[in-house]
Symmetry: C2
Subunit: 397 residues, 2 copies
């Protein structure tokens, strides 16, 4: 058996220290971390638990289920079992923690769950600390970058298998099912996480020909039919893959928690000239953006430059979607979630910084297909280092 | 191309009528439906939209993205495009709707999202209508039962393929990846929905031998290692499947929105006597429960009877988990979500009613394996009709 990877003590200690500095700035007594993503980030476990992090001193992990697994997975010292969440305020008091002003992740905690906490902590006030944690998580450690690289490499391997699978008259969903099995057996945990409310997302999209222009609610440049209006109405559908139609494959891969994101294009036969030219343009835009990205550059400068380049290529009307389905970003941060900082969009002045990890995805959508590229990067002191390496030209089968 | 299935007008009309009766009882002016599940149930689309349902009169679907798709998918008459959510109160006012007391799904809407609504609706009060909608969704129409039957049949087909895939020394995740590809290519939309906060769930569990006794936070009788503590830490892991170890497979299948749930057990070689006896006991308990379930029977009576039967079989200590990992239910409702009403647990007096759909899952966990059965049912006037039909004896390969 392959052992599971547990987060080292040094990682968790550094993350908690960074967060305690923020708690100090916010004049909070501490924070109660509940949602699985931040809970894993700050404790090393995503079992059902509440992590109290005081402004200074040692955190306390209170586990409802499974205590045994949380003890094995978390490098924290103070771990206790709790039978009922109502016990939490009493436990904190007994241990001498002050908890008058508490940070909570109010961007994901549902209203009625918040109500429950206001009842059990009836002498405390709550402050939203979601954004502070998003900002801390934006800068990845060498350990995290190594994990992200593993997800990227697995995704590259599966892209390399596509030519062996692709055949005329197979449905998009057949190809998607093979691709997904490929990433699952390499360790994809099965849940790709988005922080935004109501943004259902599975693992990725396979869309062929005109499916690439089918709009959807999902906040990405390319939609697709999906299988049903009932859930996940985007990505692969029942459409049959035909000769001389581009097959656009955009997938995530989450191994040991870290999310890779990569897009490649395949075709059985030939690619129409306008699509081929747009693909060349997307690679050229990517190269220009990679060249301009350095620590200190504001996110919006990258987005606005991408619009200029699409305009210069005479493809502005197809860039990042068509008509009302166009999205207004050129890239997004990646990590434990798919929708992290930095966001490369107009109005986002956040300066890029060493250790940020993100995907850039210059794409064009036409009535007969979606085309473009997407890669995952880490920002080094001198510019972006690409972590995804599948062949970028359109693969002809 | 296979056309996607759109919800008929008659279905949506009946659902809205039932909900309007509830709004009337609650003395609400109307409700704003936002979360994808109820939105799909009441409008036929899960595009990004807000559905206002007045206490009486016609509902209004306000679509942010994709308007084009929402118009195609929803049978509702009044559908308008909105560029910004801030426009919603003004649109309602213009159209003459009263919206002083509004129902919202406060069990899933995050706190900061609720804050946003309190700002744009600054003269309205909000009431949680989540439970009312759960109760309405509990009783399925003939149309919904037909869709659920299709999900169940697809799941049966994939279980029938398992003997061809199963081989010694393959990992749990390899088998899981094949199983998942099998349900995906039959139309599994890719998102299995749970309403409960923080309950990550993918599609199902493959656990072999001792993995069946590995605890996890997930609220089910059987856990499993999973691939990583970082996300979805249950289900298939890196464990190798060995001869004479039970392979327990519990999967959902969601086609056109409706969730089937089924568990079967396989083995290469022989099954240890204590596991074989427990499997016979689980089938016997299932038969007894099916026999007692009728419209009018309270949920808890079914659960309490299952405890008696496990006790009589001398297997109480292994029933529905071991030690602190034991769960306190014997079945759960199924539909657009995996955690619907009815809940077969102590203290739940909800009487069963014709048209309810649910899974029963009498299971036993031992140090060397998890065993048992699970099927999906619809309650008819004279008792449960089973919708899942894979072979229930342990399949020897």
């Amino acid at each position: 058996m392959v052992d599971m990877l547990y987060t080292p003590r040094s990682e968790v200690d550094a993350r908690i220290a960074a967060f305690q500095a923020t708690l100090d700035q916010l004049h909070l007594d501490g924070a109660l971390i509940i949602h699985h993503t931040n809970l894993f980030y700050l404790s090393g476990t995503s079992q059902a638990a509440h992590l109290f992090i005081p402004r200074s001193g040692k955190p306390l992990l209170m586990v409802r289920k499974s205590f045994e697994r949380a003890c094995r997975e978390s490098p924290l010292e103070d771990i206790v079992a709790v039978k009922s969440l109502k016990m939490i305020p009493g436990i904190l008091k007994e241990r001498g923690y002050t908890a008058a002003n508490i940070g909570l992740e109010l961007d994901v905690i549902p209203y009625t769950t918040w109500q429950f906490y206001t009842k059990i902590f009836n002498h405390s006030t709550f402050t939203d600390i979601a954004d502070s944690l998003k900002r801390i998580r934006t800068i990845k450690s060498a350990y995290e970058i190594d994990l992200l690289q593993r997800s990227c490499t697995a995704l590259d391997e599966v892209f390399a298998e596509v030519p062996a699978w692709l055949r005329e008259e197979m449905t998009e969903i057949e190809l998607a099912s093979l691709f997904e099995a490929g990433i699952r057996r390499r360790g994809y945990g099965g849940c790709s996480k988005m922080r935004a409310f109501n943004q259902d997302f599975f693992m990725g999209h396979v869309v062929s020909g005109a499916s690439g222009a089918v709009p959807t609610y999902f906040d990405g440049p390319v939609g697709g039919h999906g299988l049903t209006p009932a859930n996940n109405p985007h990505g692969a559908g029942w459409q049959v893959i035909r000769r001389n139609e581009v097959v656009y494959i955009d997938y995530t891969c989450v191994i040991n928690g870290y999310t890779a994101d990569e897009t490649r294009v395949f075709v059985i036969g030939d690619v129409a000239d306008h699509l081929r030219r747009a693909h060349v343009a997307s690679l050229a835009i990517q190269a220009e953006l990679v060249n301009m990205i350095k620590p200190g550059v504001p996110c919006e400068a990258v987005y606005n430059r991408s619009l200029e380049l699409a305009e210069q290529a005479g493809l502005a009307d197809h860039f990042m979607g068509i008509g009302s389905s166009r999205v207004r970003f050129i890239g997004h941060g990646l990590g434990l979630e798919l929708d992290e900082y930095p966001i490369f969009a107009n109005g986002i002045q956040m300066p890029l910084a060493e250790g940020m990890t993100f995907a850039l995805e210059p794409k064009f959508v036409f009535a007969d297909g979606a085309i473009g590229t997407e890669n995952t990067y880490v920002l080094r002191h001198n510019g972006p280092q690409v972590l995804t390496h599948a062949v970028e030209t359109i693969t002809r089968v």
